[in-house]
């Protein structure tokens, strides 16, 4: 039925049939009224089928908003009547196409049509043409055993140990070199001190200051 709604040819056919069916046979200027009714039915079906932006009842209510407010209630009634009627014909057309027998218009079928029309209208919000639903499932219980073998485990352990030792050595073992150049001078002994390290840090500066004081202290001792 949804496919039929989306099919312009079937919509056209349904609109014509509806117009033929809805009018009493012995009416005056039947031709003209029938043409008008076909046009209305086609329009209502087209609006219901919608486009990319909107479809279903939302599109219809948007359309109805364009009509002056005073007539809106009446127009909506007529419009819905035409829509429901032509949807019935559309359904029959669709069934005919599938080779299924025609249906009697009774309570049960009318209810189905009402629900189906609502569902088609809502389906636009869902976005996908098919609605999948889980009806049940069978739980399969299983245990999985995983076996790993790591022959190189000890090598990995050794590597990890060395890595950790390396990191600690990098931070906490500082290489420093100290030079003291002592030369005799006329006035006494002259000492020049230098300290080198690969990394500049505050501790290093402090240490140099301390050693400097130490050296001075040594030199003043008798």
């Amino acid at each position: 039925m949804r496919a039929a709604v989306q099919n312009p040819e079937l919509r056209e056919l349904a609109a014509q049939r509806y117009a033929k069916r809805a009018l009493p046979a012995n009416m005056q200027n039947a031709e003209q009224v029938q043409a008008q009714l076909t046009e209305s039915a086609r329009k209502s079906l087209n609006i219901f089928a919608g486009d990319e932006q909107q479809s279903g009842f939302v599109a219809i209510s948007k359309f109805l908003e364009q009509i002056p407010e005073a007539e809106q209630g009446k127009a909506a009634d007529v419009f819905m009547k035409i829509l429901n009627g032509s949807m019935w014909d559309l359904w029959l057309v669709a069934r005919e196409k599938e080779g299924l027998p025609a249906l009697e218009l009774d309570e049960k079928h009318a209810r189905f049509l009402q629900l189906a029309t609502g569902a088609i209208s809502d389906a636009f919000f869902y976005g996908a043409p098919v609605f999948l639903q889980l009806t049940g499932f069978e739980e399969v219980k299983a245990s999985v055993l995983q076996v790993t073998r790591s022959p190189g485990k000890n090598v990995v352990y050794l590597g990890c140990l060395l890595l950790v030792l390396g990191v600690f050595a990098m931070f906490y073992i500082r290489e420093r070199r100290l030079w003291v150049w002592i030369r005799d001078d006329v006035a006494g002994t002259h000492a020049l001190m230098a300290l080198s390290s690969q990394r500049k840090s505050l501790d290093f500066e402090k240490e140099f200051e301390q050693l400097k004081i130490h050296l001075q202290q040594l030199s003043t001792q008798p």
Partner: protein
């Protein structure tokens, strides 16, 4: 010469130890031997080894940083007192006054939270009012918070065994417990640097992040009833957890500390609080040392994690979100350290980087738990 007065000749490590140091070491050894003789029958060989090694480790720690001696003694007294009062029955927590209001783990942790908040307040007061008294009070409060926090953790450990022998576990197994651990490790490292550099002006900044952690902890406790002791999930029932988690949190704690110091650094270098903060070189050095310690322990933690994973999940590394983010954190700080040590990276760039590092660390610590799921889904929010 005046200069010579502040110089004391270099002495060997052991020569510098006082009688108190030796006494402390002897007491530690005796305590561990006593525990071994009394409970040795229930222990396996690893546990015995750890018990025996604990004495020299903590002795060395106490010798290196004298305040640890006092801390250890106070913790021993308080937690043994609590155990004594419990007397093997969990009901006592509601019956005995001291347990109910001071020493039961939840009370102790609430005390810790309060003391941390107060400490933050006093540090900031001291900074704003240039009052050394305020800052020193902050320092004392911070120490008391650490004491209460560790007591709470130790007692919680005991309480978990009172609930049931198979429920008992070290309190580092969920987000609530590790947040306490994080606060205390950050505080301890801060206090160490505070003594080492003789400056209290960094307190306000570091205490901010501790307060944030404690605030989160309280929210978590109130809104999720996180303080309940839960039995361990089977995957965590392992020896590795006892070292993997604390080693990781030494990393997180020191990274957070470094980031807060970098805030101070940036403020000072932009001309704020210039006369209230220590010299830029000192800030820089604290930042470097904190990150260095953190990096070393983070490396250990990651390696231990890999070894544990090999045992528990069958592979060293499975690119679980937590592992991946731990690697990102590790690489981040490795790059920081490399740039500093090899290229002499200093100044504001290093400070900004350390600050950004905190964001990465926080995401690895919390964000992964909140937004990603994986094998490490123990501390979900």
């Amino acid at each position: 010469m005046e200069i010579t007065q502040n110089y004391s000749p270099y002495q060997g490590f052991f020569k510098r130890l006082s009688i108190a140091d030796w006494l402390y070491a002897v007491v530690l050894c005796l305590a561990s031997l006593f525990a071994l003789s009394r409970f040795g029958a229930y222990m396996d060989v690893y546990e015995k080894g750890i018990l025996l090694l604990a004495a020299p480790t903590f002795a060395w720690l106490g010798w290196h940083w004298k305040s640890v001696r006092t801390l250890m003694v106070i913790l021993a007294v308080l937690s043994l007192l609590a155990i004594q009062m419990y007397g093997g029955s969990l009901d006592m927590a509601n019956k005995k006054f001291f347990l109910k209001y001071l020493l039961s783990s939840q009370s102790a942790i609430l005390w810790m939270s309060t003391l941390f908040f107060l400490s933050t307040l006093f540090y900031w007061g001291g900074l704003v009012a240039r009052s050394d008294f305020g800052a020193s009070l902050g320092s004392v409060l911070c120490w008391s918070a650490v004491v209460m926090g560790f007591t709470g953790m130790l007692v919680r450990w005991y309480e978990s065994y009172l609930i049931g022998a198979d429920v008992g576990h070290i309190p580092v197994s969920n987000l609530y417990e590790v947040f306490i651990l994080f606060s205390m490790i950050t505080a301890l490292f801060y206090l160490y640097y505070e003594q080492q550099y003789r400056t209290r002006q960094l307190g306000p900044f570091v205490m901010l992040i501790i307060s944030a952690a404690v605030g989160f902890l309280l929210w978590y406790t109130v809104s999720r009833d996180a303080a309940e002791i839960q039995p361990l999930v089977p995957a965590l029932q392992s020896w590795w957890m006892k070292i993997h988690v604390p080693a990781n949190f030494i990393g997180y704690g020191t990274f957070a500390l470094a980031a807060m110091v970098s805030v101070a650094y940036l403020l000072k270098s932009k001309g704020y609080l210039v006369d209230r903060l220590p010299a830029l070189e000192v800030l820089d050095d604290v930042m470097y040392k904190a990150i260095a310690v953190g990096f070393a322990f983070f490396t250990i933690a990651t390696i231990l994690g890999a070894l544990w994973a090999a045992e528990a999940w069958g592979g060293y590394w499975s690119w679980d979100p937590k592992e991946t983010w731990a690697l990102i954190v590790w690489l981040n700080y490795a790059a920081w350290l490399h740039m500093r040590l090899m290229k002499g990276l200093r100044g504001q760039v290093a400070a900004w980087w350390a600050l950004v590092g905190l964001l990465v660390t926080t995401f690895a610590f919390l964000g992964v738990n909140m937004f990603l799921s994986g094998l490490h889904s123990y501390g979900t929010l």
